[in-house]
């Protein structure tokens, strides 16, 4: 039983993740279609619902082309790094409060480590290698430029991301994600207490996941496909999967750090039967994450891409000072009001 529960948790987490990613692609195409007044995928299955599985199947059967000048080992290693890093970060993200199954208390988290948030930041920083190495190993100038851009961009935005997180940590007094969520009961959401930190974190999360308006590493008009120009078949699918998995992680992180996790102002005070509460909590959490995912897609199809120098200016001259300002604001709050 001791081994069984973590294994079950891992299996459930990964299958949910893969399912959400598959349908996230579908919804991205549908939402973009609505935004641009089109219909979107509607041929495969009812309302095009089988489009994404069909796409995955197609990628499986494609020929895997490796350029003859590429560094073969690193070329294959890079997508694996991207995907592994993206998947393993889920281990420390909780999806709901403790529940009881067959008389045993189960936490809805794969591994409850006491350095949770640092663990996520550490793995996010490892993820840079996937993009950088794929750019280098392809031996293609567009790929190399994409890889270099991605590493510069991610290092720059990691700073403001880390400093915004420090504001949350001061209020929660712990690095454990459970404690961070439980410090935001009722109206005490971090998004209300430290709005500047919330904004800098969201912008940095967009940059870290390489989504538009910050998708410079794969800017199509200038760099063909960026770091994954030379990738096809399953290796391309891995990059694709990693990108969407990173998007889900970013949404989960924003929810846990700033939007109160599974807490909602009026639900907490309401008296509900004990069995129903965990279910509602999980649903609240999922609803918040889904809204943020919609927000990611919404922004992607509404805002044009930044120029590279604008991106760097924004990162170093706007986001970093703003996140430092937020840190001072939180420190003053704690000093004067003892929250």
């Amino acid at each position: 039983m001791v081994v069984l529960i973590p294994l079950a948790k891992i299996a459930i987490a990964i299958s949910i993740l893969l399912f959400i990613v598959t349908y996230l692609v579908y919804f991205e195409r549908k939402i973009s279609a609505w935004i641009q007044d089109r219909i979107g995928p509607n041929r495969v299955g009812p309302y095009g619902l089988l489009q994404s599985p069909a796409d995955v199947l197609k990628l499986f059967f494609k020929e895997d082309i490796v350029p003859s000048a590429a560094t073969k080992f690193v070329h294959s290693l890079a997508p694996v790094i991207s995907l592994t890093v993206a998947m393993s970060t889920y281990a420390v993200i909780p999806f709901g409060p403790d529940i009881e199954i067959f008389g045993q208390k189960v936490r809805l988290i794969v591994a409850d480590v006491d350095v949770g948030i640092l663990f996520i930041l550490a793995f996010a920083s490892i993820g840079v290698y996937g993009l950088t190495l794929s750019g280098w190993a392809s031996n293609n100038k567009y790929s190399l430029l994409g890889g270099l851009r991605s590493s510069a961009q991610m290092i720059s935005y990691e700073l403001s991301m880390g400093i915004s997180v420090v504001g949350v940590l001061i209020l929660a007094g712990s690095l454990r994600i459970y404690d961070i969520i439980n410090s935001q009961q009722g109206w005490m959401w971090n998004a209300f207490i430290q709005p500047i930190g919330f904004i800098t974190f969201v912008v940095a999360a967009f940059a870290e996941t390489n989504r538009l308006p910050f998708d410079l590493p794969e800017a199509e008009p200038e760099l063909v496909g960026g770091y994954h120009t030379e990738y096809s078949s399953l290796k391309f699918a891995m990059f694709f999967l990693a990108e969407y998995a990173n998007m889900i992680i970013a949404s989960c992180l924003i929810t846990t750090l700033y939007l109160g996790g599974w807490h909602l102002p009026f639900i907490d005070s309401a008296t509900l039967s004990y069995g129903l509460m965990p279910l509602i909590s999980v649903m609240i959490f999922v609803a918040k994450v889904l809204f943020l995912l919609f927000f990611f897609i919404w922004v992607r199809w509404s805002i044009p891409r930044f120029r590279y120098d604008q991106l760097m200016n924004l990162g170093w001259k706007v986001m970093l000072p703003l996140s430092l300002l937020n840190l001072m604001w939180v420190a003053l709050l704690v000093y004067f009001f003892k929250i």
């Binding site: 690193v74 480590v113 640092l118 190495l133 750019g135 280098w136 590493s151």
Partner: protein, 171 residues
């Protein structure tokens, strides 16, 4: 045969193998990758020693920040493969190799023979608490407050210095 010994053996093997291959490797990018692997193995060893915070910090700072800089610079300079170590066995390399081995033997003899009784101690039961963030944070902001401030100043100087060095073209 408990799991701790197995984990130690695997991590030590990975660490030593990646270190040796790093020195022998022709291509700097491969060397950098092996160094990342080496740091990961070290992070695992830190976990075995109940130092969770330092283990995560090792990945975050070394593997995530410092090595990204290395890889970035290697790609920026686009270095060609330099001559392999085995190609030209000159006298300097042989002497340095012998020196390194002698240094290692010296350490090993010291730890196994001379200082055997001093370091033959049981792991302290406090070790789990010693690695917790609370304890490290408390030590860092009370006993070691001034070194901490100096370290932050050092980092500031490093930022300014590296911008100055990398930006200016020396005439």
């Amino acid at each position: 045969m408990n799991i701790e010994i197995v984990a130690f053996a695997i991590l030590a093997t990975i660490g030593i193998a990646s270190a040796i291959l790093l020195v022998l490797q022709k291509n700097p990018v491969y060397s950098a990758l092996l160094l990342i692997l080496h740091f990961m193995a070290l992070a695992g060893l830190y976990l075995l020693l109940n130092a969770q915070f330092i283990a995560v910090l090792q990945i975050l700072v070394y593997a995530g920040a410092i090595m990204v800089l290395f890889v970035f610079v290697i790609m920026l300079l686009n270095l060609q493969n330099e001559q392999a170590l085995v190609d030209n066995f000159n006298i300097r390399k042989i002497v340095s190799f012998i020196l390194g081995v002698v240094l290692f033997l010296q350490f090993a003899v010291f730890f196994l023979v001379k200082a055997k009784n001093d370091i033959d101690i049981k792991k302290s039961p406090d070790s789990i608490d010693a690695g917790s963030i609370q304890n490290i944070g408390e030590a860092l902001f009370t006993t070691y407050l001034i070194p901490f401030e100096i370290a932050s100043f050092l980092l500031l100087v490093a930022i300014i210095g590296s911008i100055f060095l990398a930006k200016r073209k020396i005439e």
